[in-house]
Amino acid sequence: MSNRLSKLGRLIDRSKQVTFSFNGTTMRGFAGDTLASALLANDQMMMGRSFKYHRPRGVVASGAEEPNALVGLGEGSKFEPNQRATTTELFDGLKAQSQNHWPNLDFDIGAVNTHLARFLPAGFYYKMFIHPQPFWKHIYEPFIRKSAGLGKAPDAETRDADTYEHFYAFTDVLVIGGGVAGLQAAKAAAVTGVKVLLVEQTAHWGGRAPVDGGSIDDGPVDKFVEQIVAELEAMDNVTMRLRCMGAGIYDHGYALSYERLTDHAPHAAGPRHRLWRIRAKQIVTATGAIERPLSFAGNDVPGVMLASAMRDYVVNWGVTPGERVVVATNNDDAYRTAITLKNAGVDVLRILDARASGGGALADEARALGIRVDPGKAIAKVSGGKRVKEVSICNQEGIGGARDEVDCDAVAMSGGWSPVVHLWSHCGGKLIWDEAQAHFRPDPDRPPLGVDGAGFVSAAGSANGALALGEVLSDAHATGLAAAKTAGGKAKRPKAPNGDSTTETPMEPVWLMPANADTPLRMKSWLDFQNDVKVSDVQLAAREGYESVEHTKRYTTLGMATDQGKLSNINGLAILADSLNAEIPQVGTTTFRPPYTPISMGAIGGEARGKVFQPIRRTPMHDWHDRNGADWEPVGLWRRAYAYQRPGESVEAAVNREVKNTRENLGLLDASTLGKLIVKGPDAGRFLDMMYTNMMSTLKQGKCRYGLMCSENGFLIDDGVVARIDEDTWLCHTTTGGAERIHGHMEEWLQTEWWDWKVYVANVTEQYAQVAVVGPNARKVLEKLGGMDVSKEALPFMEWRDGQIGGFDCRAYRISFSGELSYEIAVPASRGQAFWDALMEAGKEFGVMPYGTECLHILRAEKGFIMIGDETDGTVIPQDLGLHWALSKKKEDFLGKRAQERSHMADPDRWKLVGLETVDGSVLPDGAYAVGEGTNANGQRNMIGRVTSTYYSANLGRGIAMGLVKHGPDRMGEVIEIPGTDGKSYKAKIVEPIFYDKDGEKQNV
């Protein structure tokens, strides 16, 4: 059994007991425990079941690389699946549940899959679900949906109760990893005076060096860590963060670091996670190394662990994973585990050293403690279901026969160490194969390149392949110093500390144990614990022709789980290389992609959720609309009232009421969102003649003109009324969504094409609150408010005047998008609400009602006025819409003119704008297509047009629509067929696109 030792545990505080629960059972641990160490202390070795076969799984590692011990944490709005028990700090009241089983962890129906393993080979999905196609909907899809997914999704009805944030940080040197290498690199950099940011993913400094022993400057490692941390903390140019994982490195010195602020203290105030968005001149990755498992049969039975992890549990948390332990290794480092266990009072039954020559000084030390060391030996098989029971021992060179059985309850395995090269590789750093240590390490000659074309990342310590303590420190020191100098540090020659550890004899790569394991053993030798990929799966993939490691990864799912193959990558590709008779460097690794370990979606989104998910633009009268029944519609980032609902009224009824009232009495529209651009300068007229299809330079002061804008491709991009303000100033109205876009469009042409033209543009959209006062009573209400003469004579149609109305400084435009008598009045935004209130008050006797965007649309459609975004979609030219009158023939050039001469643009078969009237008066479906004779090459009916705008007109008592139809203007009176998606087919007559007041008398009174 696993249990708490009476001594050891450098990270726990035995005076502070912590209570938590696992699958509903209350357990106790100590402050400083991880969930994994606390579970082990409670003899809970089995922590979950595997993804595919639902095999019992125990914790195998002690840190971020853990593949098995994934749990669901928290409840309700704080529930989160797939959290690694090894990186979860214990706190009072923590609630965890294991995953991938039903009905419970001990007894799981899904475990039947393990007996079906031979029917679930590599590429199972590819092989199984290709055919027959009809099986998909009712057989394959339900099956895949049921079995797919790791862990449980949070309750769809709850919302994450926490907040998150981003933080932009700029530094000279970023050091990722707070082990002894990171600390030393940070110090070496900091003494040169540069700014240093040091981040460490765990809750403590020093990494694993204090566990591994040795000495630094003749003192214990712990002492060194304590001293260097104190020194760094005292330096003003150093920022240090614990619980802050370097997640990714990107172009030009950009790095993301994921800080977990309250995961360990859920009741603390403030955000839960903070994503640091860092720009660094130089980045040092001191990310350490990860021990590799050994591939032997039953290496996934709970109780089989990485040797280093077992050592961590004993030294850091005072927990032993077993009482009778067998150690299997191909290197000297695992002997440290045996020695540590033995010194802690645990029985170490055997050290099986796959190397025929056995180990060096550490082996002697182990023997001296009375531990039996067997060179040339291997594990043939580990037996036990939910817990290791027995190990069968064989010769490493062989197929696994002539076994010797040992009863035990835990196995420590070590296949050598792989540098954590992930962050080095994220932005293109290349690797080299280190034959002696059998691992990939960063190639210093091919680093990630920065903005200046020089390398901006360097690896330090064991992340750089330096595994012995002395090398780790000297390498980190040199790397930190070099990075600081590149980042502008002053030349200093500080001395590196002197690390000393027991000399190790060389490791020997062992990719399979025993070397020639037979098929039954290979079928139980796991490579990827999380995705249940075995040695036999990779070998099968190779036999089936998979040669690329990237393809094999996807075919077998090796390394595709949430741990991204931290333990399985090298072993897997070694097996693949062996199967292909290739060298490991030729096969290469898969691509390392950020983040290093999964980070929360909340951290990625930062503050952008809830009310600040996206900016909402509000007009000065927004709150009034909200209080008065506005049914909001998003228009760009603006919110506009679609209609104003009265109590008990449907939206449709509100729209119809507004439509009739505006035509019959008086309507007010908040038109503040319309873009307003001031264009000024000696060349402004000439410039606007280029921007608009019509002539703007000839517009007289005091007058307005409706204008069209096209892109250089000839397509319509915007429209609006332009007013000539004075000799060299024009004011251009744009669509609601168009102000910023058209402002940018103008600036782009001015800055990049006609930079010698003297024109300045200003976006004054938000300077004004603009109200459209519309309807037969429009003039009456303005006259009642008094001030400016708004008579037909003083302010004729398509003119504007400055003055005062009701005491408000304003500019009144006599323009109409409804076909009614209409004024658009602009007042300073800060007086918008007051002006609106004055209009509402004065308008009472004239039947005033506010109206929304749907009413606006219906009124304009009744008049056949086009709407950018309805009648246009980026492929429509003015000629398609019958707007030839707005295309100047006098101008030599305007944006879009040349494009409109292209053959396709002049094609008589282009769909043209017409009005559409349903034969039965019903409303056409929006966006529906009209069908004609014959079928196309796919056997579908030929299309001859589509509906661009369609409404119910309360004024006319029938549906009205506009559409683009092939040869439309030549087909007046023809009835065309328009199938809907509702199963009905509509019949519509082609008519002129103007349904109301065809002569325009109402607007010009």
Binding site: Y254, L449, V451, D452, G744, E747, W755, R898, A899, R902
Partner: protein
């Protein structure tokens, strides 16, 4: 995520402040141009692996358009310069030559 130096306001701006504007030094063809010229102006763009010239706008910043000479393969930036020019300035060309001897791009080298 790129960092580009805005030659107008002097900021080393990250990409979220910037708006990409495609190939630089495209010559406009308007009315009077033949179909091939106009077609090339609208649609034909360089797509090199290596030295490239681009337009960028410091949109969330000073609002100015500028040009960037950079390597599309390594993302190395050779230099940035104001957009009010029809061809890359000599010092930019020299900077590229120093790093990529023998480079060519369209009619420039």
């Amino acid at each position: 995520m790129l960092i580009l130096h805005c030659p107008y306001c002097g900021v080393d701006a990250e990409e979220t402040e910037l708006h990409a504007g495609g190939e630089a030094h495209v010559k406009r063809f308007g009315p009077g141009s033949d179909d091939d010229q106009f077609h090339d102006y609208l649609f034909m763009r360089e797509n090199p692996k290596g030295v490239h010239f681009e337009r960028w706008q410091h949109a969330n910043g000073c609002g100015k358009w500028f040009h960037v000479a950079r390597c599309t393969a390594t993302l190395e930036v050779f230099g940035t310069y104001p957009a009010q020019t029809t061809e890359p300035p000599q010092e930019i060309r020299d900077a590229i030559t120093a790093k990529r001897p023998g480079w060519t791009w369209r009619e420039f080298s």
